[in-house]
């Protein structure tokens, strides 16, 4: 068999394998107890929800209002070195990767808050959501997520702080 024919044969078989894979995936998914919808909802409200499916997302306007009224504590879920370079003024650092080691340090501040607003950086950063779920599990009732928090806060010109510089 020539190389051209071999290539055509390989491509046909590959297509067959892909179709077979899709059919097996569809069948097993339909048989699965908690099957996955074939077209999922990946909006922020849907992704960043609590265990009951309620969205944890808070908008920048509401978050900044709570900041001005001093009714919320902001929690920075990013690694400590990123926090040191700049953070929402007054925010507590509780890096998600070290949450168990550092939770007790932050707990005193968090207990005084009506609302806890977790943030990290980037539209798809999951650290703040993971941290918000953890804090909700720890008994903090009103725990929210400010999506892409650091960037949107900074771009809105709201108060920030860094290890060396106050109020940028």
């Amino acid at each position: 068999m020539g190389a051209k024919n071999k290539t055509i044969k390989a491509a046909r078989q590959a297509l067959g394998l892909i179709v077979l894979g899709c059919i097996l995936a569809a069948c097993t998914n339909l048989l699965r107890q908690n099957s996955l919808p074939f077209a999922g909802d990946w909006s922020a409200d849907s992704r960043l929800s609590d265990d009951s499916g309620q969205s944890m997302v808070i908008g920048l306007a509401e978050a900044s209002r709570m900041y001005a009224e001093d009714t919320a504590v902001f929690v920075d879920a990013r690694p400590k070195d990123q926090y040191d370079q700049g953070y929402i003024r007054g925010a507590v650092s509780l890096p998600w990767q070290q949450v168990h080691e550092r939770f007790m340090e932050a707990a005193d501040r968090l207990e005084t808050a009506e609302t806890i607003i977790c943030y990290c950086d980037g539209e798809n950063c999951e650290l703040s959501h993971d941290l918000a779920l953890f804090l909700a599990d720890m008994g903090f009732e009103d725990t929210r997520v400010l999506v892409n928090g650091w960037t949107v806060w900074k771009e809105a010109g709201l108060p920030t702080q860094s290890r060396n510089t106050d109020n940028e």
Binding site: A3, K6, T7, K9, A10, A11, R12, Q13, A14, L15, G16, L17, I18, L20, G21, C22, L24, A25, A26, T28, N29, R32, N34, L36, P37, F38, A39, G40, D41, W42, S43, R47, G122, N124, E126
Partner: protein
């Protein structure tokens, strides 16, 4: 004599590469098939596919990997299996490199859906490049420049 020896070594290397890639694909499919939701999150985090396609790809991809892995190991539909294997390695490597370049801190989702394994880094890219080279060698050896019958596993022919 030397030529014969080289052919023998090459044949052994070919069988080893084939079994290794088959095993890699089987292993890679296992955890993703068991945890489609977690794998869908890994796929979503790559930020390459449109949202509506994330779940469908996350569901189908592990089964395609499984099918390709089985083909490589058993020798059934070997040209098709190696074609899929090389195609997927191109896609995986391109996606990893793309996100490394744009600085997106994503979890690989290559062999496990657990985020605890840390984000993909340069070593993940190097590992994928190695598998890409291996699958390209198999593709050339089986499809484009077959030297001889490649059914080296008893009872199977390409």
């Amino acid at each position: 004599m030397n030529k014969l020896r080289f052919q023998k070594i090459e044949k052994t290397g070919f069988i080893f590469a084939r079994i290794l890639m088959g095993a890699v694909f089987l292993y890679a499919s296992y955890d993703k098939i068991l945890n489609p939701q977690a794998f869908a999150e890994a796929v979503y985090n790559y930020q390459i596919l449109p949202d509506f396609a994330v779940n469908a790809v996350a569901l189908a991809l592990p089964w395609i990997e499984l099918a390709a892995g089985l083909c490589l190991i058993t020798g059934i539909w070997l040209p098709g299996g190696v074609f899929v294997c090389a195609l997927l390695m191109c896609v995986f490597t391109a996606a990893l490199v793309f996100n490394q370049i744009r600085g997106l801190d994503v979890h690989c989702g290559c062999f496990t859906t657990e985020a605890a394994h840390g984000p993909a880094g340069i070593w993940t890219v190097i590992r994928d490049l190695f598998f890409l080279v291996l699958s390209a060698y198999l593709l050339v050896r089986i499809v484009f420049l077959p030297l001889e019958k490649t059914g080296d596993i008893p009872g199977r022919a390409a």
